[in-house]
């Protein structure tokens, strides 16, 4: 880690957890990365996740749906998950 990177707590839910093999992971991103950029990195790091959900994977930042433009801060919680199916 250098001063130009941040650490983000990344969570995976539902099928996304199975396609990454984990429920959470601390990931370092370059400082200034936004939520959409982080999403691209994660999809690249987990090819099966990208294959299955490139267009539809949802993501949230600190428990709120993200639109992608949000700049991440050290310690943020970023979650990735498939379309929801509660009810």
């Amino acid at each position: 880690m250098n001063s130009t990177s941040i650490k983000v707590n990344v969570l995976f839910f539902g099928a996304a957890a199975e396609l990454t093999g984990k429920r959470n992971e601390e990931i370092a991103f370059p400082a200034g990365v936004n939520a959409a950029g982080a999403r691209e990195s994660v999809l690249a790091a987990y090819p099966l996740l990208g294959e299955r959900y490139r267009g539809s994977l949802l993501f949230s930042l600190n428990e709120e749906y993200a639109d992608g433009g949000e700049v991440l801060k050290d310690g943020d919680e970023l979650a990735f998950f498939p379309p929801v199916s509660g009810g």
Binding site: G14, P82, V84, G86
Partner: protein
């Protein structure tokens, strides 16, 4: 007083409806969703619901606030079951008390439709020959 809950215990829908009734109200409408034995012709043995719990509760509260802006309602209760559910068990209850039943019907229908689109909960169905994450429930 509104009520938003996630629980691994069986849901008592009558108790849920009763908890949100204020004395000035005239009607409560309750939607009770439960585990179907057959979906798309395939027999489900049981299922598991998983949630991003703190975010799911926040989203449920946001839906409650939006419903209050749209409809003249008194109280809202939303309870979603998590973990393993057997066939026939209640997975979700949405209950709305209102002075006039038309608002209660409309708000309840609106809330369950939105819940299925925005609240981060996922359903995994188990069959005799395997399992599947459900990608989209009935809209």
């Amino acid at each position: 007083m509104d009520l938003f809950e996630l629980t691994t215990e069986a849901i008592d829908i009558g108790a849920a409806a009763r908890r949100i009734v204020p004395p000035e109200c005239g009607a409560t409408v309750t939607l009770d969703g439960y585990v179907r034995e057959f979906t798309r012709g395939k027999q489900t043995l049981y299922l598991i619901y998983e949630a991003y719990e703190p975010m799911a509760l926040k989203e449920m509260e946001k839906l409650g606030a939006s419903a209050r802006e749209k409809f003249e309602i008194s109280n809202i209760g939303i309870i979603h079951r998590l973990g393993k559910l057997e066939i026939g068990e209640t997975s979700v209850v949405v209950t709305v008390a209102a002075p006039h039943r038309k608002d209660a019907f409309e708000a309840c229908a609106w809330l369950i439709t939105k819940l299925k689109k925005t609240v981060p909960i996922w359903k995994k169905e188990f069959y005799a020959d395997g399992w599947a994450w459900v990608e989209s429930s009935e809209p």
